[in-house]
Amino acid sequence: MGNSRYLVEMNDISVEFPGVKALDRVHFNAVPGEVHVLLGENGAGKSTIMKVLAGVNTNYTGTIIWKGQEITARSVDEQRQRGVSIIFQEMNLLKNLTVAENMFLGRQPLTKTGNIDWKKMNQDARALLDSINSDIPETVQVSALSVGQMQMVEIAKALSFHCDILIMDEPTSALTEKEVESLFSIIQKLKSEGVAIVYISHRLQEILKIGDRLTIFRDGQYINTVNVKDIDIDQMVAMMVGREMTDYYPKVDVAPGEKLLEVKNIRQGTVLKDVSFYARAGEITGFYGLMGAGRTELVRAVFGADPIDSGEIYIKGKQVAIKSCEQAKKLGMALLTEDRKNQGLILEFDLNQNISLPNLDTAMGGLGLDKNKETENNQRLADSVRVKTPSLMQKAKNLSGGNQQKVVICKWLNTDSDIIIFDEPTRGIDVGAKAEIYGIMNDLKKAGKAVIMVSSELAECMGVSDRIYVMHEGEITGVIGTEEIGNLTEEQVVGLATGANKKMSEG
């Protein structure tokens, strides 16, 4: 059944996380000596399928054929021995150990007496770093390195395992141009040695430059596999975004009102570099950008969750100093965080407790907290956004992702805020619930709230927002006005988000 041409074939792979189907019978294959690019929006399932191959996600269904034989990917160790090496998107280095210690963690060379052979370990690390033309000192602590340098250490570490297939998950997102160049020459060298490279990236120009074949995923579904030389950027974006998606964003026409929130020249370390924006009543203001563009950091800073270095915040035209989330809430702001499980909800608590938390006044009777009043109020909120749950006594952790997000929405509806910030409101939730969340956002817009939405999904951002700020590396690289949203191609917006071209206009 296996085609011997392939190093690996993955067929009908499905992965299910609680409440969401991350992968739905997708296919992927790789031949030796090729760069196979995986493309898709955040949440499309690119990392998930590679984690299956690397033995990280072991609860999958489907078949994997490795060098012509069917295998089961049971653990990282086993897959590594087979020849699968992976460089994760999130850094897996231990900051307080040295570069060499990190590279040989758990397999340090030993002396005859069983002690760690520091000399040999450092020499080996040096040799590996030299092989990728890196001048990072092997004895320095990882905490002293830049993010780009850490990425290079990860690459060197991955190369230290002999591998037939090397998976790179967004390797260039943190690299400087020079580092990208040397990474590409490493890739060329590995290719010539017959190693298959799986390359996950959002940077379309890069894909054209180094990719041989391209597989596209969308919302956990397999879309297509094509030769890179047969395709252009427009076609890539079209397949990535999916045309039929556009009609499920119902736009509501509301004349925008006053500027409820205005932020001027906000700075925070190297993450936010002089960012200014405003959000108006009766308008959905979108923030588009790639991971690490600083959008989450921006909304957290505005909400007082993290301190800022400088900058001014105006609410309804009045300058305010926001030093805590408590203050932000009192000023009429709400933040629905990106990570709803760890930051939005208390998973072990019931829905009642979760919904009431930001505004317990709605649950107070004459003698203190009144359970009946609380349930009544929360039930009304839960019904208004159609939370599916047998009762409000249900623990938050037992709900699906979409319903959890609705509970977080209820929390903030309970405060009657004027400025409502949604950070990646639809990440990891199914299509039906997504449409419902857009509906809720439109309702808030109609009610005259200023809605801010951070999104990494281009189609969503363009479909839902009235105005869009595009961010790249802590800066706003473009503002797209209402009239322009329909006229700009997605490629142009992606161009702004990747820093390829800059454009400023006021909408």
């Binding site: 909400f303 969750a305 805590s324 989330c325 408590e326 932000a328 809430k329 009192k330 933040l335 965080t337 760890n342 930051q343 939005g344 909800l345 208390i346 998973l347 072990e348 608590f349 019931d350 407790q353 009431s356 938390l357 930001p358 317990l360 107070m364 003698l367 203190g368 907290l369 009762s391 006594m393 249900q394 623990k395 929390k411 405060t415």
Partner: protein, 316 residues
Amino acid sequence: MKKKKIDLSNMSALLVLIVLCILLSIAEPAFHSFANFINILQQVTVIAVLALGVNIVIFTGGIDISVGSVVAFSGIVMGKLVVEGGMPSIVGVAAALVIGAACGTFNGIMIAKFKLQPMIATLAMMSMARGAALTLAGGETITGYSDGFRWIGIGTVPGTQIPVQIIFMILLYLLFYYIMKYRKFGRYIYSIGGNEEATRLSGINVDKFKTLAYTLSGLCAAIASVILVAKLNSAQSTAGQDYEMDAIASCVIGGTSLLGGFGSVWGTFVGAIIMIVIRNGLNLLNVSANLQKLVIGVVILLAVLADSIRNKAAKK
């Protein structure tokens, strides 16, 4: 559903207590006399009041091991003022309460604002408060209090045999029960233990409520100290040693999760009584103090194991 669960964890401690009482009654008939019942409640007051405060800290996911030392420190200050300074008892009591609350607040600020580990911050306070008590007292025992003051520790409700210290304890428990169940404060404390970051991002001043939890713990230690001094007619710089462990054990036996977010005021009360009943029973059975320590250790271990198994089941 949740209500049922909390009741259940309460029930299991209560069930253990009932079984214990039955077993001890069979082994030693003297156990189930009214006199012994009052005796047990009298013995439990100090630990129960201490546990009340420590419990709130544990609800937030923290720990307070300084309370035993705070008992000594606040007691010595009160003794110095009243016995040696000739101040009215009420001034001494007020001073003790202020010292206790101040020690707790200091812990809270170190933990909430300066992000010290609760164990480390209160370990430092444990040593500092003990050191302060020893230095102030210079090794002596301060005795000789007015009858009015001693009434707190040894008086009975007029016309009955019920000691007033038991009434104080029960009133405190009722107050804390109300606060934890019906005031916003209580909900915030549980929420912090459930998920501190989510609570902060819900616009709750987490630092303030965390600090207040430690303030209350220190305050409870001082109240326990007042009862203890009134009972014994003496303040000692070595008082309250190992009490923090009894208090924490009471909370855990009563079903409070050391991870924070879960537990009840009444569970802790039952936990404290279980501790004392075991001691009382072992005394009646003439078991040596040394062996008693071992038995108590086993009970704590079983309680924590039960907590861990319960958590695992809840995760499923």
